[in-house]
Symmetry: C2
Subunit: 188 residues, 2 copies
Amino acid sequence: MAQERKIDKVILGLLCHEDLSGYDIKKRMDGAVSFFWKGSFGNIYPALKDLENSALITKTDSSVGGRERSVYHITDAGRDALKEWLCDEQASNELRYETLLKLFFSSGAGREVSIRNIELFEKQTARDLEILKTCCRSLENAQDNEDHIYYYLTASFGVETYEVYLRWCKKAKKILRATPHNSIAESS
Amino acid sequence: MAQERKIDKVILGLLCHEDLSGYDIKKRMDGAVSFFWKGSFGNIYPALKDLENSALITKTDSSVGGRERSVYHITDAGRDALKEWLCDEQASNELRYETLLKLFFSSGAGREVSIRNIELFEKQTARDLEILKTCCRSLENAQDNEDHIYYYLTASFGVETYEVYLRWCKKAKKILRATPHNSIAESS
DNA sequence: GCTATGATATATCAAGCAGATATATCATAA
DNA sequence: TTATGATATATCTGCTTGATATATCATAGC
């Protein structure tokens, strides 16, 4: 069966507020949305084509000079499709953390390697946390706008989970350093 | 370019401790690993074929009667490949939370819908948390085994993040209920 | 002893998706 | 004037999921 394509909903959701080109959509997705859902040109452009064929969006040429540019606009049917998805109680929530995958199998490589991997994860998390915190602060004081409440809630989800990640990193490193245990890897 | 296939590492990691069939591997992946990395037959079986061709694993027929069964065993080259991956500092950590995606675009559907979606997420999280907690408790008192320390660390990552998820759910529902704001959706 | 059910076991396909790559235009800064 | 980087659209390969197909075996109930 045809799988539900999430990129369609992201596009409809973004177009709900403003008309955008495929490139604009990519930029938006690289922003605040990216920490819980990523997208690429490889699925954005085909999705735009399909959504246009299904009349959920319309395409307008807004080329300037020799520079091509297509801007997309959501239709009433598109808004309905978005709402239907929002009301659908199914939701797939999935973590794909290679750092944890590595840690799970780390007895073959030893503690120094694990600690190094946790430190790298810690650094990346700390960087991302700062971005999300800035985002969160700017939304906190603008909750008269209905949209901003939702943006704030997703951003605060990120802030709170990332803070826990950092606490876990500290604890994990402490445990790994506590009882030095020689592994096959560390002796090679 | 050939992408790094994560399923290969999962298989090598699991085979590091015991010989397994494709079906066994799926079962293991549905267990404790599944909360941070999922797998399916659709990629496990092709990966087993490729890993065998690359001599990272060997296949042994262990059919009983008319019932086919192939058991795989890791080779020294396979252990090296696993270790190489463990030592590689690159790691892609990705969240794909449809619940957050919906929440981000929820102004079009209204607060009741958002609260319902959060409640569903909350229930699923609470269920998963119980499983992880049980897993964590049994590992806590068995840290003389080197492997168990890594299993414990990944499980405790899950417990701690899921607990934060639940706290966030409570907060989010409270905010959404605090300032009742009529949306286009609630009036339809 | 028979039968239904569910677990075991292997495999394939369509569709979704990421990452890399290609091509071309335009603004700008050196 | 020229190089760089942002804008813009598009395609391809390979990885991944979810569904589906097929067949065997253990067991539990009748």
